[in-house]
Amino acid sequence: MELSRRRFLQISSATVTGLAAVTSLSSITKGAKKIEEKTGKPAKGIQKIPTYCDLCFWKCSAVAYLKDGELWKIEGHTNDPLSNGRLCPRGTGGVGAHYDKDRLKTPLIRKSERGEEKWVSVTWTEALDYIADKMEKIKIEYGPESMALFSHGVGGTFLKHMIKAFGSPNETAPSFAQCRGPRETGFELTFGDIVGSPERTDIENTKCMVLIGSHLGENMHNTQVQEFAKANKKGATFIVVDPRFSTAASKAKYYLPIKPGTDIALLLAWMNVIVNENLYDKDYVEKYGFGFEQFAYEIKDYTPEWAYPRTGIDPKVIRETAYEMAKHKPATIVHPGRRTTWYGDDSQRSRAIALLNALLGSWGRKGGFFMPTKLSIPSYPYPEYPKPERGRVDNPDERFPFAKGELLANGIREATITGNPYPVKGWIIYATNLLQAIPNQEETIKAIQNLDLMVVVDVVPSEIAGWADVVLPESVYLERYDELNISPFKEGFVSIRQPVVDEPSHQKPNWWIAKELGKRLGLKKYFPWNDIEDYLDTRLKSVGLSLERLKKEGVVKAPKQPIYFEDGVQPNFWTPSGKIEFYSLQLKEKGFDPVPKFTEPESPPPGYFRLLMGRAPVHTFAKTQSNPILKDMMEENSVWINNDIAMRYGLKSGDYIKLKNTDGVVSNKVKVKATERIRPDSVYMVHGFGQRSKMLKSTYLKGASDAQLTTKYKLDPLMGGTAMNVNFVTFEREA
């Protein structure tokens, strides 16, 4: 199953020569056989087809089972380093995506006001001609940069390619500025590298893991949860910091019920103890660190006693947990989290987390942060993209000096509203529900009013689809090919997504949509492949693999490579100093704190509670609620309210209430969960519910939407991410 070492070395140095062989794969083959070739009768028995999952972005490899030609179930692929043969509940429920009754069936064109959800069903030709015509008009009138693409997940690959070929640099995903962006900025400022996805946390080998707000187990990133359980079994110490007693907290030796918004104070106190008591990894810091003396000076006053009134955490517990982290170093992970857009100080908080890890010497070390490895497969040899005349639209005048990576989805939205630095007139939105993803729905709707074209490509009619001019129905992952998965991880691998069953009606895969649009936009030279099989085979052949082999095996692994410094990985830090920056001159230069500082968070007004949000293991964002299997697991969310508060308001579990925020926005009705498992000053909801798309019948107005209540947001001054845990709500009785 594995590539030989020799082959792999050849692969690494391989270059692709020209466009080469167009293979004779003419029509796309679906995996499932409904009819036996020999007998001509309906297929009997079990068929197994490997493919990788699309229920979230983790991209676990799986094996789809068909019984008598019909899609039956999905299991993890045993050769896959991400799933290790076991999927998460969403992946296991993936068949529901195919059977979802609310799926979009045909292309739709709007026939009344935006947002009224009144449509005409049209053919693909009509829909694509309409879109291409509008895009050409935008290009002529405003320039190609005035088209923007928001996408999420690997399925966006070909539309991203199309928009770049069209000449626009404005392509992004809310998974950056609304999610993991601040974390990447904080780590990049410190180590010169991002955490990335899948996260490079070596949880399996850790002896001590600190989770700050990160709720593994509810947040179901498959490999992380599997490794969390393994570490647990091996007796690792967990320290969980969260205003809510999460599932992870129940596995922890120490639970720190922190006051929301004060994490930096706790982190500073931990670092203070570790530095003042000489518990840090001196060799590591000396060898790799830059500006340690200045850093030590900056944090010298932040004792646990200083942190106590700010965080509410007992100084004794702060010390004990610091000792615990130091005892297990470097096999200690202070987990960087994933959605880190909380309070507005997020990249500095993430930087504090990075610095604490640096003190513990855990970056690059076993049981800490591994150095990911990847099977390198050259990208398809496309012609060069046209160079846009105007740069990215999202960050005029570099207002956010460290917004250097992916674009800010909120920045594109703002430019669409203001026309500054130039107008944005067309949005293509692929598989992301912007109304739930970007805070302040009113601003999103305002931006939409300025558009000449809004296209949504999705599998179900999400809320954002309701505002589109054209809605294109996509095949679900079990019906389509996608880009190869070559995620960097503990070992290099490539995995394939391939069609298992036919689309139930007129849905089409993203690659086909992109190619067809490209054709209409005069971008034919950017789509030289016949179809995706040709594309995939070309890429795979360039490294001595083939589509045929991948279709059969699903996953091919590269030989193991070292992933820790101690095993020979060369430590490289791509910071200005080439070292781990304890003191950041580049931050100082731009007028920011070179070492993170604590600022007091806002307190809830009397009678209001801080609205916190998170994940449930059975749903992904706002995109799986209509999946009939996952809907049966969790049909609506509830609002967690501390028992004492609930009693004071005369509320009990099961009551329905509405939530009202300080801007007067009132939620849909939501069930109360009165519990001991949350601080009295906060309430908590699982994200993704309370959807208001009438076409999404099965989940229409089920539960409440935290996104609707997130009218306020704070912008991270370093990188422009949108902090969302800054809203306060009160309770309204259901009439």
Binding site: C88, Q226, F228, A229, F245, T247, P617, M633, E676, R677
Partner: protein, 179 residues
């Protein structure tokens, strides 16, 4: 003769419901019904809380009231491993079993018969684990022969604290929660 049971490590379980989903697809459990479920029980006062998370299902009791209350003999102990099963063709949907089960493990299938966990006997007979066990991302479930002292389940039950549900009901349940 084997005596099948299950041990579930509550220290590892995160309550993700993968067991519930896997059961649903494996056994084609209809929309709106589940054969297994998650219970979360919190004790104590914030922030000093103990939380036990349990994956629950039919306990395949050795003294099963559903079997003794069944007027037609549809509910029975299977020859293999003492698994409690329902012979769907013989079930008249009278709900006596549902009333007698202390664990609320049964429901009436839309096709009219009493339905519940089968320990995936069709898989077990092929030498596989039940679907819920085989899918669990935390590996917190152990299925096996309680009479075999060398089985993983026996070893775990011999070496670790555990409890079963409602032991006072006198049903001799065969699902154990490691704590």
């Amino acid at each position: 003769m084997a005596r099948y049971g299950m041990a579930i490590d509550t220290k590892l379980c995160v309550g993700c419901m993968d067991c519930v989903v896997a059961c649903k697809t494996e056994n084609n459990v209809p929309e709106g019904y589940n054969r297994d479920w998650i219970t979360e029980e919190a004790f104590g006062k914030f922030p000093n809380i103990n939380l036990e998370i349990r994956s629950e299902r039919c306990n395949h009791c050795e003294n099963a009231p559903c079997v003794s209350s069944c007027p037609t003999g549809a509910s029975h102990y299977h020859d293999i491993g003492g698994v409690v099963l329902v012979e769907y063709n013989e079930c008249i949907g009278c709900k006596a079993c549902i009333a007698s089960c202390p664990y609320d493990a049964r429901f009436i299938h839309p096709d009219g018969y009493a339905d519940k966990c089968t320990f995936c006997i069709h898989r077990v007979e092929e030498g596989k684990d039940p679907a819920c066990v085989s899918v669990c991302p935390t590996n917190c479930m152990i299925f096996g022969d309680l009479d075999d002292p060398n089985s993983e389940i026996s070893k775990q039950l011999n070496s670790r604290k555990h409890h079963s549900l409602k032991p006072v009901a006198g049903t001799n349940p065969k699902i154990f929660y490691l704590t």
